[in-house]
């Protein structure tokens, strides 16, 4: 029997945010950037209860905002969105397809995060590229590549977050 550990989930998200802040800028090419925090939030929040998932998403997002140099609040919103989507997706999935489904959720979360970042820059008066161009050459590839990364490391993340607890008859 498997049970999700909130502490482990928070640790996974914190490490991912730290990694993203440190290595993210080196792996940013054009509009693509690895969104390790969002991927970690999706996979760590999926097995949790709704309230726990939402709090974890906010925690990861705020951490990303604090460690990065971007507009504060965008990461928090993105984390919330990712956690919310992951919590909903985990409620309807069938066993054996978690990784594929959550990788898709990660891709959608990254796309939403990109759009949020674009809107935030626009609202704060910073320059933004043409929306159509950004959607095609920025958001889509970013979401696709991050979905692939999520699929590749998702299983490992789920294993870390889930703790095996013995059945009652095993005790």
């Amino acid at each position: 029997m498997e049970q999700a550990s909130v502490i482990r989930a928070a640790l996974v998200v914190a490490v991912a945010a730290l990694l993203e802040a440190v290595i993210g800028p080196y792996l940013t090419f054009g509009y693509f950037s690895p969104r390790l925090t969002l991927i970690a939030v999706v996979f760590a929040a999926a097995p949790l209860r709704d309230l726990q998932a939402v709090l974890l998403g906010f925690f990861g997002g705020v951490l990303l905002d604090a460690l990065g140099g971007d507009l504060f609040g965008v990461g928090a919103l993105g984390g919330l969105l990712a956690a919310g989507l992951a919590a909903r997706a985990s409620a309807v999935q069938s066993r054996g397809t978690e990784r594929v489904l959550l990788a898709q959720v990660a891709g959608i979360s990254v796309a939403a995060f990109d759009i949020l970042g674009y809107t935030a820059r626009w609202l704060s008066g910073l320059g933004v590229p043409q929306l159509g161009e950004y959607a095609v050459w920025g958001v889509l590839p970013d979401a696709l590549i991050n979905a692939v990364i999520a699929f590749l490391i998702g299983g490992w993340l789920l294993n870390i977050v889930n703790v095996k607890t013995p059945h009652s008859w095993e005790k």
């Binding site: 940013t28 090419f29 950037s33 097995p47 709704d50 905002d65 990065g68 609040g73 919330l80 609202l123």
Partner: protein, 309 residues
């Protein structure tokens, strides 16, 4: 997975409350002081500054491993963007740059002793700083350097390589680190002057007095860049002189504001000048003198003669 979720209502309520909190954080961040002036650093910017300070040692370690990857990636991206002709053109420019760099190094060599003893009379430099890491996202061009307020560095100070090749300006400065907005960042702006090669020596930043005389109409404008990769000088009137191969240097003026940069900092060379009768200003494309991928050591100009304030 697949376990029964507890109270969906409490989850939705928390989601709504935290969404509002996130929007509040965003609003506060945009409205608060951005650390560009001393004593005006808001709490959220302070948090980011503190995090940058704490992460500096980790970034330094990772930089050793990841920098080659980053530079290779940037070059690959550049190769995909260009046609063969442009690549050849760039190679030619690189060869020319190497030749001019060789002669510049020769002259710089002679001046190094003078620099070590008393440095330039007109500029005061901070200590030599190492580039720790690039920072920011897809839309920004910024780096972190390992000098800060303890080294006399303040926000809004020019950052150079060599003696006078402008790299950018400091934005947020903590005790041991400073963030530098590169000249290729779309938020960067500086008043610049366009000078014929005969009137300026990029190695020593000596400008011929003829340039500043009143009857000469050398082009002056605003250095600007955009996300599409344009890097050039805007607001140069059609009547002003600007030709391919001219040098672009800081004019030391930013409208009627205090001097943000000293005059004579070398920015780059004019790559092309186009003008159409219907336009009010010339379209001037500039080839920057610095390459963001090759920045390793920089210096902050902490003070200069004639600086206001």
């Amino acid at each position: 997975m697949g376990r029964r979720k507890s109270s969906a209502a409490s989850g939705v309520a928390a989601l709504l409350i935290l969404c509002v909190s996130s929007l509040a954080l965003f609003t506060v961040y945009v409205k608060e002081g951005d650390c560009a002036r001393e004593g005006q650093c808001g709490p959220l910017h302070t948090v980011q500054l503190g995090a940058a300070e704490v992460l500096q040692p980790v970034r330094s370690v990772f930089a050793i491993v990841l920098e080659p990857v980053w530079r290779t990636g940037e070059r690959v991206m550049g190769a995909f963007d260009d046609s063969k002709e442009q690549q050849l053109e760039r190679k030619l420019q690189e060869a020319e740059a190497l030749a001019s760099q060789a002669s510049r190094l020769e002259r710089e060599n002679a001046q190094l002793r003078e620099l070590l003893e008393g440095q330039r009379t007109s500029y005061e430099y901070g200590p030599l700083a190492q580039v720790v890491a690039p920072v920011g996202d897809q839309f920004t061009q910024r780096i972190i350097i390992n000098v800060g307020t303890e080294d006399g560095v303040e926000p809004n100070r020019p950052v150079v390589i060599g003696e006078n090749t402008l790299v950018g300006r400091t934005t947020e400065v903590s005790r041991h680190t400073a963030q530098v907005m590169l000249i290729t960042d779309q938020m960067f702006a500086a008043g610049v002057r366009i000078i014929p090669p005969a009137q300026f020596d990029p190695a020593s930043s000596e400008i011929s007095p003829a340039v500043t005389s009143e009857n000469v109409s050398y082009g002056q404008g605003l250095l600007e860049t955009d996300l599409e990769g344009y890097f050039g000088v805007g607001l140069v009137p059609q009547s002003a002189r600007a030709e391919e191969g001219d040098y672009v240097v800081t004019s030391g003026r930013a409208g009627d504001k205090e001097l943000l940069f000293p005059p004579g900092l070398y920015v780059g060379k004019v790559q092309s000048v186009t003008s159409q009768d219907i336009d009010q200003f010339k379209k001037i494309v500039v080839e920057p003198a610095m390459n963001p991928q090759e920045l390793e050591e920089v210096r902050v100009i902490t003070d200069w003669a004639g600086r206001a304030g």
